[in-house]
């Protein structure tokens, strides 16, 4: 069912993005063919690659693995979406060849991970950008927009009615009912919650007094299990507001709010506007370590501020000789313009070019 849904979105996105007039049942054939023509230097290794980590990039990884395996037959690549923490642990323990993670390695994890890379270090490579949509379902109200302070007040339970002055101030023209707000959050722990609360803490610290964490810390509200549960709850219940990965918001046809960025503009969530925030991020790492610091208060015009950057954590040196071509091949495809474009269909935003070229160069330098 998911595949079909994705397929439908894929058709729409491909039509829009590539200007194709029609698309067949297998979209990857033309893309794969053109890629193997342009990038002749695809590393086709043999054997098995085991990776695990973030479930936020599960769909992206599945797409890349499929595309890579079409180019290079005879390879087996496993990506287990076991969670970021488990992925990093597996990388440190040596059971994962690379790890996917919702956050870069923490300072205390870095030396442990470096120890696995003989003569090199563990690199954080931003690879998948997952924008987080603010979704709502209010009968009679459309095109709502929120400033960070209003969002923080709603989710902290300080604003409880839809016709509250704070919401009215953000939406002077909207017809807001005097109904109670149901602020829906994830009842399971999730990188989306972590990222969303980080955004609230950074942009509206005075209204959001809870630290960021994967578990929802604010009192009250309504929990729903998994992204699918959140999307379904918002879709079926009047008076709800929540946050969810972009792909789920699109697939469920939810109304997405515009969010005010640091420049004071209310911005709609698009692949382009999310990419602008990433383009404005600063790199904290040295050399090829591309650990990013996202500025949630970005002053970049037209940037959508709530984005989640997920990383691949991989050794710069010291990979086993049989694994190296596989890692370089797969991640090289992922960091290519074509690999990133595949993601748009799945509800991720592609890396902006200036970041992507750095990631691509970093992948090429793996040895």
């Amino acid at each position: 069912m998911k595949l079909q849904r994705h397929g439908a979105i894929a058709c729409l996105a491909l039509t829009a993005v590539l200007g194709l007039s029609a698309c067949g049942s297998d979209n990857n054939e033309p893309a794969g063919a053109s890629a193997s023509g342009s990038t002749a230097a695809v590393d086709c290794g043999k054997g098995t690659l085991n990776a695990q980590g973030s479930s936020a990039q599960k769909n992206a990884m599945a797409e890349w693995i499929k595309a890579y395996q079409q180019k290079c037959a005879g390879t087996t690549i496993n990506y287990e979406p076991s969670g970021s923490g488990a992925g990093i642990q597996a990388f440190i323990a040596g059971t994962a060849d690379f790890a996917g993670s919702d956050s870069a390695l923490k300072p205390e994890e870095q030396p442990q991970a470096d120890a696995k890379c003989a003569g090199g270090q563990a690199l954080n490579l931003p690879m998948v950008i997952g924008p987080v949509a603010v979704v709502y379902n209010v009968s009679g109200a459309d095109n709502l927009q929120f400033s960070p302070a209003t969002l923080a007040k709603i989710f902290a339970g300080k604003v409880t009615k839809w016709d509250d002055p704070a919401i009215k101030a953000d939406n002077p023209d909207a017809k807001l009912p005097s109904a109670a707000i149901q602020a829906v959050h994830r009842s399971d722990e999730s990188g989306t919650t972590d990222n969303f609360t980080k955004y609230l803490a950074k942009t509206a610290g005075s209204d959001w007094t809870f630290e960021n964490s994967k578990a929802w810390k604010a009192p009250g509200g309504v929990g729903a299990a998994k992204s699918d549960g959140v999307a379904s709850k918002v879709k079926s219940t009047d008076g709800t507001i929540s946050y969810v990965e972009w792909s789920y918001a699109e697939n469920s046809g939810l109304k997405m709010a515009k969010v005010k960025n640091g420049a004071g503009e209310f911005t709609e969530l698009t692949a382009e506007s999310a990419g602008k925030t990433i383009a404005g991020a600063t790199f904290e790492g040295q050399g090829n370590d591309l650990k990013m610091s996202i500025d949630y208060n970005t002053k970049e015009a037209g940037a959508y501020p709530i984005v989640l950057a997920t990383y691949e954590i991989v050794c710069s040196k010291g990979l086993a000789a049989d694994k190296l071509p596989l890692v370089k091949g797969l991640l090289g495809h992922a960091a290519s313009a074509e690999g990133q474009q595949e993601l748009v269909e799945l509800g991720y935003a592609p890396l902006p070019d200036e970041v992507r070229t750095k990631v691509e160069a970093a992948v090429k330098s793996l040895s």
């Binding site: 009842s187 578990a215 810390k217 509200g221 929990g223 299990a225 079926s236």
Partner: protein, 361 residues
């Protein structure tokens, strides 16, 4: 000679379902005595009746006794193993907990320092299960009585079949149905209850929807088939003599049910309700999908929120670290204890009621 009839009598009681076991202490001690008397049987056989030596030669008898003994002790071993596993995993997490395990309202065992408390979860578990029974039991007894005493035979059979079918629906389906379709009507009902019965504290302010009420009603539907089919069987077994005696004395059908069927069936009904309660307490995914997953103790059953131990485990184990898993296991231990208490209470009630009804009947 005195040995043989006693043994066969107890073999009979041991074989019948737990709910109908007679004279608990006597039966239990007799079974123990029988087991301990086993090796001494050859000696006793000399003084016994003529049938005994032949029985000793019959090896299958012993083999079967050994098999049933092994099956019986498996239960004990499994329960002991589960308890040991739970305790061993839970203790380190409980030590690491920096808040009171019993009173803290929240579940953040993955944080540093870990903080988690069982109070709100245990409260939600018990509250949702009791509410579910409150809704389900009257309906279930009504259905059971209709099927056993009022419905035409053919209709009764097919209706009973449908009820049993309800038991075969996976709980995740009930959960999804509750979450996606039933939440709306329940929210409307909640608003109505609050409007007209808002003066009762349990019918408080909204937001409505994913509330204890929704979870309980979904649970009630899941519990219904168990309670119904067991009670129906019990009611059917009412001795015809009792029923006809009541009718012969001029009782109407309702009076006959009240004087003959219900007293006879009471222990069975209590057993059925307790089985239903057991299912409700342990129900996981349906509640994980329908409850609002907040960590607060509130008697307002209409407000979105509420949580249960099993639902919390389902929601939180995916991203749990070592302490997180230990904390969830500790919560499992509490559920284990709650279930144990419920079962012991049920046994006690059944035992007491049984003596009463047997002397009455």
């Amino acid at each position: 000679m005195g040995d043989t009839p006693q043994r066969s009598a107890h073999a009979g009681t041991g074989g019948t379902p737990v709910a109908t076991s007679h004279e608990r202490p006597a039966g239990a001690s007799a079974r123990v005595a029988e087991r301990s008397g086993n090796p001494g049987r050859p000696d006793g056989g000399l003084g016994g009746g003529g049938g005994l030596p032949r029985a000793r030669a019959f090896g299958a008898e012993r083999a079967f006794r050994g098999l049933t003994l092994a099956a019986g002790s498996t239960v004990l071993i499994v329960i002991a193993a589960i308890a040991i596993f739970l305790i061993a995993k839970a203790v380190p997490a409980l030590r690491a907990n920096t808040e009171s395990f019993w009173t803290f309202e929240g579940w953040f065992p993955n944080d540093n320092p870990p903080k988690f408390g069982i109070g709100a979860l245990a409260f939600g578990t018990v509250l949702s299960s009791l509410l579910a029974l409150l809704v389900a039991v009257p309906v279930a007894l009504g259905i059971a009585l209709y099927l056993s005493h009022y419905a035409p035979r053919r209709l009764g059979n097919s209706l009973g079949f449908l009820i049993d079918l309800l038991a075969a629906v996976p709980s995740v389906v009930f959960g999804l149905w509750g979450r996606d379709y039933f939440a709306g009507p329940v929210a409307d009902l909640s608003a109505w209850l609050n409007k007209y019965f808002g003066w009762i504290p349990i019918f408080g302010e909204g937001p409505y929807g994913s509330s204890i009420l929704l979870g309980s009603v979904v649970l009630a539907i899941m519990v219904l088939p168990i309670v119904t089919s067991l009670s129906r069987e019990v009611f059917r077994q009412t001795p015809t003599a009792n029923e006809e005696a009541a009718l012969a004395l001029g009782a109407t059908r309702w009076e006959m049910i009240r004087t003959a069927v219900l007293p006879y069936g009471r222990p069975g009904v209590i057993a059925a309700v307790m089985l239903g309660l057991g299912r409700a307490l342990g129900e996981t995914i349906a509640l994980a999908l329908t409850l609002g997953s907040t960590y607060a103790i509130s008697f307002n059953i209409l407000e979105a929120g509420g949580n249960s131990i099993a639902a919390n485990i389902a929601n939180r184990f995916g991203e749990a670290n070592d302490t997180g898993r230990g904390a969830l296991i500790a919560s499992g231990l509490v559920l284990f204890a709650i279930t144990l208490i419920v079962n012991i209470t049920a046994r006690a009630i059944i035992y007491r009621r049984r003596e009463f009804t047997e002397s009455a009947a």
